[in-house]
């Protein structure tokens, strides 16, 4: 562009210095025969206009076919002179308006209409009509050239020919002269140009008219040029949208007033200008050929559309294929998801049904929402019996003691309402056959995605077996404890016999003394009575010992009773008195009267204290020096449990066995079985207590056990 602009500038400098200050008006001219030809042809016209319209300076801007559209679109020119085809397009697209139509000069005849010429070399005898064009090598000026292609195309089309499809080759020469030269030189067989080109070239001596022949020649009066097509109005001179109407009018007047013989007209080889013609015939041409701006005309066929919009079609097709693939993919994905979902559901069901615990879901209304297989196996209720029905009324209506269990006290519903998981250790559920079974169960709230509770899940376990095993273990423990007690009694027998023998001796002796006193008639009645009373209390003492003994040895019913541990300790001391004396042990009792009672098996607690006390006494039997003191203390700590400590002043515990003291068969005694502490531990733990060793200052050992004052409460240590 730059060189051209520079050239233009230079031309302006030459043509009129001093006019540089005038408003520059640009006239775009379709340069269908080359830029230089365009300048030569149209610059005089521009100069004419500049001269006729003061204050304005006109310049010619040659534009080739590709440049016309952008020049108008971007307002680079103020007026445009182009062929009717381009005009029609620009009129529709950029609303340009024709202000004059060229009165073209062909030889001496002026015409404001023109047509297309289809021609071949005259020596081509095989090419005589439009039909003969089929299979020939064709050349036109340009795809947008009205006279140089589109007019001829329309004529061919009426004969059912398509230059693209029906030719051996189809090319464009770019300018008319080139098409003429190509035909003349035999590079193509048929050319398409506008009227008057051949005549002008012949006049210029470039060709010889006789070398060519016109195909499908048309003749009509008043138009003397060779032509093959209908006539169409000549080039219009148009104003671009932004150009003011005032200027356009002045230009139009100047053009229409140009004399046909004006030098500028002669330079441009035209005979002045006429009022703008009707360009409807051009519109029709474009509609028929479905060329822009009528590419969307109603006669659009599918083939046309495909040809025209093949890329859109391709895009659409690709898109369609893509969608098809996507759909396939999505549907396969969906299928896989469904499969996975089914698998998951099966898995979930399998898991639910494989669990040995019964599981039911409960909604907020208390109705069962699901039940697993174990539930059916345990309770006999089929899932169908339960689902949608109130679980409490079916499973949970009555307590273990036979009293009704009100629904408002049901832990499952409580969980639904307060969202707190619950674990119930000891309850009963009711089977379909009307029997009940012991269960432990948990009730956990079910929350949806919004963390809103929608019900609860109840997981329960039939604890019959465990209860039975636990009872058996308890029984076993009791039996073991009993055997151990008998064994202890065996070991203590002689001592206890001695203990009973003492009061018996006193009784017998006193009785004999009384007899003698009475026989001697010494009159000591008071004294005799006194002695008799003593006999009574001594008999009671013996009876007491025997009672303790029997209590200790008897196989007690496993029923808890309220016992006072202080009392138990005194009983144990009684039984141990012989051993205490034998080993010269002193007893220090520090019993807290406020310890309260514990729920326990009397005999077993007896046994634990006896075990600990005997261990303590035996531990001290071997020490040579120092006091042998057995201290037993009771305390009530935190009102929750009774703490009993048994402390001796013996040699203390062997660190090697201290960790395993409570394991069975661990003993430091030559004749011991090693069961005492193990059994004691079993007993204390069965009473929900704890037994352990505490460090003691100096030598000696201290055993401590804790028993809850309330049997329900576990000791927290």
């Amino acid at each position: 562009m730059w060189p051209r602009a520079l050239l233009l500038f230079l031309l302006l400098l030459i043509s009129g210095p001093g006019l540089a200050e005038d408003q520059l008006i640009r006239i775009g001219v379709l340069s269908h025969r080359g830029s230089q030809a365009t300048y030569d042809t149209w610059s005089p016209t521009a100069t004419y206009l500049g001269r006729v319209i003061p204050g304005h300076d006109f310049e010619v801007v040659p534009l080739d076919f590709a440049e016309v559209d952008p020049a108008v679109k971007f307002g680079q020119v103020d007026f445009i002179l182009a062929n009717p085809g381009i005009y029609v397009n620009l009129e529709v697209r950029y609303r340009i308006s024709r202000i004059a139509t060229l009165n073209n000069l062909a030889g001496t005849n002026a015409n404001n209409v023109f047509g297309g010429v289809i021609f071949a070399r005259r020596d081509r005898r095989d090419i005589n009509s439009l039909d003969d064009l089929k299979g020939k090598r064709l050349m036109a000026v340009a795809v947008t050239s009205l006279g140089g292609f589109q007019m001829s195309w329309r004529e061919m089309r009426t004969r059912g020919l398509d230059p693209y499809r029906d030719s051996a080759s189809f090319s464009f020469g770019g300018i008319h002269d080139e098409v003429v030269r190509a035909v003349r030189d035999g590079r193509v067989e048929v050319g398409m140009i506008r009227t008057d080109i051949l005549e002008r070239m012949a006049a210029a001596g470039e060709i010889n008219m006789d070398d060519f022949k016109v195909i499908n020649p048309k003749v009509n009066p008043g138009f003397l040029l060779n032509r093959s097509t209908r006539l169409y109005p000549e080039w219009p001179f148009s104003k671009v949208l932004h150009t003011s109407n005032e200027l356009a009018q002045r230009v139009a007047v100047a053009l229409l007033n140009m004399p046909s013989f004006h030098p500028a007209a002669r330079a441009g080889n035209y005979a002045g200008w006429t009022i703008p013609l009707d360009y409807q015939s051009v519109h029709d041409l474009f509609k028929e050929l479905q060329l822009p701006p009528y590419e969307y005309s109603g006669r659009f066929t599918l083939a046309d559309a495909m040809k025209k919009y093949w890329y859109w079609l391709l895009v659409a097709l690709i898109f369609l294929v893509f969608m098809l693939l996507m759909t396939t993919w999505v549907s396969r994905l969906n299928r896989e998801l469904k499969k996975a979902k089914l698998h998951l559901e099966r898995q979930y069901e399998l898991i639910l049904n494989s669990v040995a615990d019964g599981i039911i879901g409960v909604d907020l209304d208390g109705n069962t929402t699901f039940a697993n297989r174990a539930m059916t196996q345990i309770t006999g209720w089929a899932a169908a019996d339960l689902i949608g029905r109130n679980q409490h009324e079916i499973l949970h209506h009555t307590r273990v003691d036979g009293t009704p269990h009100p629904a408002d006290q049901c832990p499952v519903y409580a969980t639904c309402s307060d969202q707190i998981p619950r674990f119930v250790e000891d309850d009963v559920f009711w089977k379909k056959d009307g029997s009940s079974f012991p269960v432990e169960y948990s009730s956990t709230p079910i929350r949806n995605e919004q963390f809103k509770t929608v019900g609860s899940v109840v997981v329960f376990r039939d604890t019959s077996d465990r209860k039975r095993i636990s009872d058996e273990a308890r029984q076993h423990q009791d039996d073991l404890a009993h055997v151990a007690r008998l064994s202890t009694m065996g070991e203590m027998a002689s001592g206890i016999a001695h203990e009973i023998n003492q009061p018996l001796t006193a009784i017998a002796t006193n009785a004999h003394a009384c007899i003698r006193m009475l026989e001697s008639h010494s009159g000591e009645t008071e004294r005799v009575i006194d002695v008799m009373e003593r006999i009574g209390s001594q008999a009671a003492r013996a009876g007491e010992i025997i009672r303790h003994l029997r209590q200790f040895v008897k196989k007690e019913q496993p029923e808890l009773s309220r016992i006072d541990i202080n009392e138990v300790i005194n009983e144990v001391i009684t039984l141990l008195r012989t051993e205490i004396r034998k080993f010269g042990v002193s007893i220090g009792l520090d019993l807290d009267d406020g310890i309260g009672e514990v729920m326990a098996l009397h005999v077993q607690i007896d046994q634990v204290i006896l075990n600990l006390a005997r261990n303590a006494i035996e531990a001290m039997a071997d020490i040579q020096a120092g006091e042998r003191l057995l201290s037993i203390a009771t305390r009530n700590e935190q009102d929750a449990y009774v703490r009993v400590t048994v402390t001796d002043t013996g040699p203390g515990l062997d660190p090697a066995v201290v960790d395993q003291l409570f394991n069975p068969f661990v003993t430091t005694k030559p004749n011991g079985m090693g069961l005492g502490l193990s059994i004691s531990q079993g007993i204390i733990e069965a009473h929900k207590g704890r037994i352990f060793v505490e460090p003691v200052e100096g030598s000696g050992a201290r055993f401590v056990f804790l028993l809850p004052t309330s049997p329900q409460r576990e000791i927290e240590v």
């Binding site: 001695h498 009061p503 001796t505 006193a506 017998a508 002796t509 006193n510 003593r534 010269g584």
Partner: protein, 202 residues
Amino acid sequence: MSESTVFIIDDDREVREALQLLMESVGLNVVSFDSANAYLEQFDAARPGCIILDVRMPGMSGLDLQNLLLEQPLCPPIIIITGHGDVPMAVRAVQAGAVDFIQKPFNDQALLDSVHRALEHDARQRGEASHIAEIKQKLSRLTPREREVLELVVQGLRNKLIASELSVSQSTVEAHRAKVMEKMEAKTLSDLMRMMLTLESQ
């Protein structure tokens, strides 16, 4: 000489008091103690009597006490009382010198008989002791020549043999002999002989 006393040593108050009552019911003099140590604190060898001792007691046991007392020149007879199962211990006590052992609960008559026997034994033991002391005291009144004569008389020698043995006249021997009989307060030769045998048996 003071009256014989029954010393009861038992840690069990009931048994101790019952024993005391039984002893008192037959008119015996009784002192009771609750431990061996308590008895030892007031022990007086000159006090006649017997001991009823419980074998099994805290502190000093019955056997320990018995061993201590046997070291004394004059030990009161000891009756061991024992509970069931203490029999081996009682046997040991008897072998060590206890006069008897009685198993609890006891037959009152058996115990009382045993106590009487013990008291007699004590009296006898104490009687013999005083007789010997008397003889020794008489013997101490003799002159050395009279002792020589006495010893020869006890050997059964005639006066003539004694005179030749001592190289004195027969009449001198007779005078000494009369003096010995007088001092020893012996009426006959056999009295004298018995006294000397008693001494020898010591």
